[in-house]
């Protein structure tokens, strides 16, 4: 077998892929394994069709669609606001950022301004969501490494605290449905703000505890360093975004690039990786959490008073003028965008979600080639996918 057989695309791209030609005459027949859609470590109903030489992966084809629940078709048959609860179920760990991305796209489509306090609330909630997502990822990644139980228990302990905040604010633990076009649904009470501030202030201590347990762990380093290394030019070409891109050293964070919301008002750094391997992808997320804590603390310190909803915003009979808009934000997994085409009716003519984890999976095969099956599980875990978003 020659390398070009393995990935026809790899030869066409200048940056190349991590392929390994199998020429050893002692190797026996290749083995095809179907991992998923029911597999304990594929993070849902994802399927990888893996061809193995011994335990080494020589070919890997992702198979999608096991959770294709027609989000976009439903979005075109319901009103603009009617799609808001569906965005919760898109990436069901991060409903707040999905809400914001969708609200942002519609606000661009309709030219709808947002009051200052609402923008601050959105920043706070989005960064809390980032904390939640990255914490869960750290737990799941360790679970995939074989560290069963403890890290995930720690992660979910913290997740429950954030979910309690979300529930107090929006009425639902996971499916918040909180943003509206032109602001937020309700205002946060002083008690809620105090509780959220207390949680944020204590989060650094949790991260310290968690890192003491994990970060310097020899087994973790042996399992993740040098595994699934990604080159920056290939990552850019494949449209990789989010922590996975920044782990390769590319400085591209929409919070800085687009400066949406009020992010330019806050001081924070964008952590960058060096090797682009699984360990870097893990470390980037831990460092991002520390930056998120800083952002939330700054937002609490400067939170302005005022309404959280634009008084001129139209909730009933909302019909944007004909036109189109693509709005995007930096979600915890990468660039989540919504592309909307309006024809002047109450329903969007075209409703499209740009899912970060779907596009990030483009390079799964390139990352896994030459590694063992056990490594493929960790690489998939470090890409951080949610099937609701991959398949929509």
């Amino acid at each position: 077998m020659i390398a070009s057989d393995i990935s026809p695309l790899a030869s066409r791209l200048s940056s190349g892929a991590h392929t390994r030609a199998v020429t050893d005459p002692f190797h026996g027949d290749l083995l095809e394994v179907s991992m998923g859609p029911h597999h304990p470590s594929t993070h849902g109903v994802f399927r990888m069709q893996v061809t193995l030489d011994g335990e080494t992966i020589v070919k890997l084809k992702p198979v999608f669609g096991y959770l294709h629940r027609n989000h976009e078709k439903l979005g075109e048959s319901t009103s603009y606001l009617g799609s808001m609860p569906y965005t919760d179920r898109l990436d069901y760990l991060n409903s707040m950022t999905n809400n914001w991305a969708y609200a942002l796209a519609v606000e661009q489509l309709a030219g709808q301004p947002v009051p200052e306090r609402a923008e601050y609330l959105r920043v706070i909630l989005a960064e809390l969501t980032r904390l939640l997502n990255h914490t869960c990822l750290a737990g799941f990644l360790l679970q995939d490494c074989g560290c069963s139980g403890t890290p995930l228990m720690y992660a979910f302990r913290e997740r429950e605290k954030i979910l309690d905040l979300f529930e107090a604010l929006s009425g639902s633990r996971m499916m918040c449905n909180f943003q509206r076009f032109g602001g937020c649904r309700t205002d946060a009470s002083p008690e809620w703000l105090a509780a959220a501030k207390q949680l944020t202030d204590g989060y650094g201590a949790f991260l310290d505890e968690y890192e003491r347990l994990i970060t310097g762990n020899e087994i973790l380093m042996a399992r993740t360093q040098g595994v699934g290394a990604l080159k920056p030019d290939l990552a850019i070409s494949a449209g990789i975004t989010g922590p996975m891109l920044r782990a390769t050293g590319v400085d591209y964070d929409l919070r800085k690039v687009d400066g949406y919301g009020f992010y330019p008002r806050f001081e924070f750094r964008v952590p960058l990786g060096d090797h682009g391997d699984t360990y870097d992808r893990y470390m980037i997320r831990v460092l991002e959490m520390r930056e998120s804590i800083k952002i939330i603390q700054q937002a609490f310190a400067t939170l302005p008073a005022g309404p959280v909803m634009d008084p001129k915003a139209k909730l009933r009979g909302f019909r944007p003028k004909p036109g189109e808009a693509y709005g995007r934000i930096e979600g915890p997994r990468g660039e989540i965008g919504f592309y909307l085409v309006s024809d002047g009716t109450p329903n969007p003519y075209r409703y499209r979600v740009r899912p970060p984890s779907f596009v990030n999976l483009t390079l799964l095969e390139d990352l896994c080639l030459g590694h063992t099956v056990a490594d493929a599980v960790i690489i998939l875990g470090s890409i951080d996918i949610v099937l609701g978003e991959v398949d929509r």
């Binding site: 669609g65 449209g239 036109g323 189109e324 592309y339 483009t362």
Partner: protein, 190 residues
């Protein structure tokens, strides 16, 4: 980034005779786009990617739009530059019709990010991408015949048991009832 009119003029001088036009976006977002001729689309895409003033190295979003009345399917690409941190430049390609002439050049050789997203457009809209390395259905199963995101797609009718129908579901469920009905009390699940 340079204004779209200037980019349009530069493209016309680089590709003389090509039918490149600006599609105006009347909405407040004012994200205008470029309509490219299908035959030259890949060359123009390479130009957009490699031109030093543009360097649109990042293709963010690929999507199809079914224009039922106009009788064509459009594929829209949202391009950004990670190197120069600007964008978006939006390019559109159009098929000749919605039935037999639905082939467009694949831009996967230009931006690998298109690989799965073009497969999705093929699956859901039925646009055939010429030069795509692996053009198969991605979300639906291989035996599936329809293209469900098209506006004239007819969904399978499995509304035979709807205890509490309302709205659009009520209209679909009606066909399965022996008598004319109103959405009254629902029967309990067995």
């Amino acid at each position: 980034m340079e204004p779209l009119e200037q980019l349009h003029a530069r493209l016309l001088s680089a590709f003389p005779g090509a039918e490149i036009s600006i599609v105006n976006n009347p909405g407040p977002a004012a994200q205008h786009s470029l309509l490219l001729p299908a035959a030259l689309a890949r060359e123009i895409a390479f130009f957009l990617r490699d031109d030093p003033a543009l360097r649109l190295d990042y293709c963010s979003n690929v999507t199809g739009i079914d224009w039922l009345k106009a009788g064509h399917i459009e594929v829209v690409y949202h391009l950004y530059s990670m190197a120069l941190k600007h964008g978006p430049v939006i390019i559109r390609l159009r098929t000749a019709n919605r039935t037999d002439a639905v082939t467009l050049p694949s831009l996967t050789p230009v931006w690998r990010a298109c690989e799965f997203q073009e497969r999705e457009v093929f699956d859901l809209y039925g646009v055939v991408f010429d030069g795509h390395p692996d053009l198969r259905r991605i979300l639906m199963w291989d035996e599936f015949k329809d293209h469900p995101m098209r506006k004239d797609y007819i969904e399978p009718d499995d509304y035979e048991w709807e205890p509490t129908p309302h709205g659009a579901i009520h209209d679909k469920a009606k066909a399965h009832y022996p008598a004319a009905v109103t959405p009254a009390e629902g029967a309990a699940k067995p």
